[in-house]
Amino acid sequence: MIDVSGLPILSLIIFAPLVGAIALAFVPGDNVRLVKQVALATTLVTLVLSLLAAVGFGAAAEYVLPGSEGSSGFRYVETVPWIPFFGILYRVGMDGISLLLVVLTTTLTTISVVYSFGPIKTRVKEYMISFLVLELGMIGVFLALDLFLFYIFWEIVLVPMYLIIGIWGGANRIYATIKFVLYTLVGSLLMLVAILATAFTFQAANGGDWTGAFDLLTLRAAGGFDPTLQLFCFIAFFLAFAIKVPMWPFHTWLPDAHVEAPTAGSVILAGVLLKLGGYGFIRFALPLYPQAAHDLAGIIVVLSLIAIIYGAIVAIVQPDLKKLIAYSSVSHMGFVTLGIFVFQEQALQGAVLQMINHGIITGALFLCVGVIYERTHDRTLARMGGLSKPTPVFAGVFGFFVFASLGLPGLAGFVGEFLVFVGTFAVSPVAAAIAAFVMVFAGVYLLWMFQRIAFGPVSDFLKGLGHHLTDMDRTEVLTLAPLFALTIIFGLYPAAILDLIQQPVTDLLVALGSAPATGLVP
């Protein structure tokens, strides 16, 4: 076993993709084979590094912020002064939640890169560079502990995704990608203002000393910002994260982006990018502005409920496979925000579980859609039918993920959703009852989709494809297999996740003043 405690492991994870991307820049673009090899090697190295961090996580020491009491809850913390004049640090650290999300990111990026070998035929080099930079940004967001650093990574994510949709996307890609970027920018610029406002306030309160003004740990420990400042800053953060999640009514960029994005782009979009929002709430918005979070929680819970039900209902009538799954993401991500904002232990754990599991399951569903699209160059449900016969393996795998998405117990989707339900019920039975209706709506859109794809006689459109309609090839099986296994493992043994997030969740609830109940609830 390699001991990672002596290494700057987090920086290695963050910058390994960057090294790969720079290396790729020197590879001739027409040597597609080498480009793919370098890209795959980079993602694999990053994956292995993240797994090493996971293995050593339990043994790593928790960081204690100088001058404060008790552990910060973060491990592998690295601190380097970056812009000392403003107290801006390069500070990264990992807790259970970010560990899970980083591993999710490295796993999904590797799968996406492997999956892209076939479908991406133009500008492969630029595509792979975009993906590696994207990975850098996403990992950075999950590991940054400095607000300014976090903002930088947050914006880095935007650029490669803009290119991936805009260059390798579908027919209407320009509209979709501009919508995606503008939407996200509106939120993130407001967030920047809030970050600066917070830092200035902190600096003013500290007699003009900038030290720690952008440092999450310092700010969190200081706490107690003025309620008005909290309210405005929270709203700014909320907008940035709500757009990313996306919460109702800021969700309309998502279906367009998904429809136009190439398959691997959709996988990353649904699998990781949407989680940035949920993660932002948990890591930044709630600990920094607890008072405002409490004040606005009611509204956000209502928005989440709307998203859950509304997304599911709209998904029912979508004619396009990707749009359908995009709206289902709106519904599923509603559980994340619902779970976060009821401020209850089980609900919060469920929200984190749901983030991970949604990443796995929806990522897999998009891969499945890609499998269909590669053969038919179509995603219209009305043209599908009877795929069980010509492509039985695909139908079986697709059905598996459909039921996982449906929340079938024993598979990954169930536990997170149910924990959110239970936690919500303990706080507000009415909210839980409203959300519970999604059990039926989700069944309607998912089973209807599955029926129209897999059951019935083989449609004329598919018959017309003749021998092009082959079952999944080895690459496709290879990319879906790990997600398949994870779906079962996390469904049967969610403790693998729950044990990791117990501490951060408890800490957050303590910070929010809603300490988890111990023992039996009266």
Partner: protein, 671 residues
């Protein structure tokens, strides 16, 4: 939490729960491991096997042997002294205070359920070897059957509500897969979706009920819930109305799975699946899950009499409602499906009046004879080359003697003719309802008994007696089924004859009561129900006479109309009769238009609503977003007009600005 053991408390009347010994633990685990391994192996290897059942069927036979051993140990050997054993496999969801273990639980109720599930399951597996012999995809069929057995065994073995819920969904999944087994048939693809979705409607209630239990009582473990409940109720931690709410929510789940009105619509459609599936899942085992859930939760329901009344009302209404539809259906399997609804209604009626044991008794006997009837109908369908319309059958008794005799026994049993199984259990349901003060339940139940006898012998008459209406091309090829199919029929027929007497005698102090007394004792204590002395030459005897009499009347009426033995059928009379009451006939024939109502409500109106939402999304929400974009662009265009490109215009602006600044400075600067 599974590791805790509870000492027997004679005052509370809760039976002792002990940690399972290593043998029992191994056997209980094997009950689950074997079918899931069988499922996995069959999925992986099935397509390459020349006999795809070679893994699945022996697996279930072993499971049956283990289950029988355990059950006999518990019931007859009294190995656990009427108590329960519990064992923890591992901790499933450790989420802080919400901690759910993968615990298995075994008491006498589990034992009875295990016997029913594995016996019929094993027979259906064997039967399917013959029935599915010519189907190219039969490896899938056996894989799904094993998956179902795993789910169903988990359902009856689970030691907490959440695990039951998990199994509940998994049986739903297996049912979905098996109903849609012939996936290329559009009707099958619609039926399995309908089944799953209607079940999900009930599951909303079940899930909310589980949440409510955890929120109020703080645990989901059966033993702990039942243990903590009395004190919390007495201490005022839990209000009584909460218990009513919890029980109603749980009952919603039970209504879905057991297809009680108005969630009954999925079961008749589920007959799209292969007939062994109808026998196993949609008659003998899975549809009983709702009954099992309510029975298992008896200590909860006992504290909520208001909920129990609703259970009784829904049950007895479903009984008569479904029987009225079974009268006129032409599809042999649909008659049996509505009959199943009706009999499940009996069970819920029994639960609702507090006759817990009678409900489980009827569950067991119904499982046997309804399984028999379905398998028999499968044999008939097989014999007449996949024809299900009874108008195209008739006079089959000579060509299919074994099927005929076994189905006759099944029909006599369901009609309640002594001394067959149905007589004992049905009589107990009705008798207890009467004696516990629910005379209205009894009265409707007696009418249903009359109807049951009639429609069952209508089915027998149209199928096996009278004149042959079989397609002339098929007629010469009609044949009795192979032994893999007839042997299970004979075994079930024998069970239909002896099971009732074995379990139901001696009257008033029957074996099954002894078996289940420890399970239902706490509930009966809470409800304050105490057994009255049995009066064979009094009220009980009179009730028996009434039910036997009505069953005979129904049977004889059908005999005369549909021609038995030497009596000619009088289809003209039947036609004349139906013509006299066209509204009733059409209503019954069209299942009281429930499918049409659902279609209108959920497909048409629901579809419109969803369309409206989608329109709203595109035109209002996204419209607002695009509107902002358009507005920005327009504004840009407007402002751009001021940029003429002429130097002097700009200079004018500069000069104007200068003057403006000068004026402002003059005005402000004077201070």
């Amino acid at each position: 939490m599974g590791g805790m053991s509870f000492a027997a408390d004679p005052h509370a009347g809760i039976a002792a729960v002990t940690q399972a010994g290593s043998t029992e633990q191994l056997l209980l685990t094997l009950l689950l491991v074997l079918p899931i391994v069988g499922f996995t192996l069959t999925v992986v290897l099935g397509r390459r096997l020349s006999r795809p059942w070679i893994i699945a069927v022996p697996t279930i036979i072993v499971v049956w042997a283990i289950a029988t051993y355990l059950s006999v140990q518990a019931l007859i050997g009294d190995a656990f002294h009427g108590g329960a054993i519990q064992t923890t496999i591992y901790e499933w969801i450790p989420a802080g205070a919400f901690s759910v273990s993968f615990d298995l639980f075994f008491d006498n109720l589990t034992a009875v359920m295990l016997l029913v599930v594995t016996t019929i399951g094993m027979l259906v597996h064997v039967y399917s070897i013959g029935y599915m012999a010519h189907d190219p995809g039969k490896w899938r069929f056996f894989a799904y059957l094993n998956l179902f057995m795993f789910s169903m065994l988990l359902l009856v073995l689970a030691a907490n509500f959440l695990l039951v819920f998990a199994a509940w969904e998994l049986v739903g999944l297996s049912s979905y897969l098996l109903i849609g087994f012939w996936y290329h048939k559009r009707s099958a693809a619609l039926a399995n979706k309908k089944a799953f979705l209607v079940n999900r409607v009930g599951d909303i209630g079940f899930a909310l009920g589980i949440m409510a239990i955890w929120t109020t009582i703080g645990t989901l473990d059966f033993v702990q819930v039942f243990d903590l409940l009395p004190a919390q109720l007495a201490g005022g931690h839990i209000e009584q109305w909460m218990m009513v709410g919890i029980c109603l929510l749980l009952f919603c789940g039970a209504m879905g799975k057991s297809a009680q009105f108005p969630l009954h619509v999925w079961l008749p459609d589920a007959m799209e699946g292969p007939t062994p599936v109808s026998a196993l899942i949609h008659a003998a085992t899975m549809v009983n899950a709702g009954v099992y859930l309510v029975a298992r939760s008896s200590p909860l329901f006992a504290t909520a009499p208001e909920a129990l009344i609703l259970v009784a009302a829904v049950g007895i209404f479903t009984a008569i409602f479904a029987a009225s539809i079974a009268f006129t259906q032409k599809d042999i399997k649909r008659v049996l499906a509505y009959s199943t609804l009706s009999q499940l209604g009996y069970m819920f009626a029994a639960l609702g009046v507090g006759a817990w044991t009678a409900a489980i008794f009827h569950l067991a006997t119904h499982g046997i004879f309804k399984g028999l009837l379905f398998l028999g109908s499968g044999s008939v369908i097989h014999g007449v080359h996949e024809e299900q319309d009874m108008d195209k059958m008739g006079a089959l008794r000579r060509k299919m003697p074994i099927t005929h005799w076994t189905m006759l026994i099944g029909s006599l049993a369901i009609a309640g003719i002594p001394p067959l199984a149905g007589f004992f259990s049905k009589d107990e349901v009705l008798g207890e309802a009467f004696k516990l003060g629910f005379q209205w339940v009894w009265l409707i139940g007696v009418v249903v008994a009359l109807m049951t006898a009639f429609y069952m012998f209508r089915l027998m008459g149209k199928t096996f007696y009278g004149e042959s209406h079989v397609d002339p091309h098929v007629e010469p090829h009609v044949h009795e089924s192979p032994p893999t199919m007839t042997v299970p029929l004979i075994i079930l027929a024998v069970l239909s004859v002896v099971a009732g007497a074995y379990l139901g005698l001696p009257l008033g102090d029957s074996t099954i009561h002894h078996w289940l007394a420890p399970v239902f004792h706490p509930a009966l204590e809470t409800m304050g129900v105490h057994a009255e002395p049995y009066q064979l030459f009094g009220i009980d005897g009179a009730l028996i006479l009434v039910s036997v009499a009505v069953a005979t009347i129904g049977m004889v009426a059908a005999w005369r109309m549909f021609g038995f033995f030497r009596i000619h059928d009088r289809l003209d009379t039947v036609r004349a009769l139906t013509a006299r009451v066209p509204t009733l006939y059409q209503g019954s024939f069209h299942k009281w238009y429930f499918d049409e109502l659902n279609d209108l409500l959920f497909v048409r109106i629901g579809g419109r609503v969803a369309d409206a939402f989608a329109w709203f999304d595109v035109h209002i929400i996204d419209g607002a977003v695009n509107g902002v974009a358009t507005l920005t662009r327009r504004a840009g265009d407007e402002v751009r007009q001021s940029q003429t490109g002429r130097v002097q215009n700009y200079a004018l602006g500069i000069a104007g600005g200068l003057i403006l600044i000068a004026v402002i400075l003059l005005l402000v600067g004077t201070r």
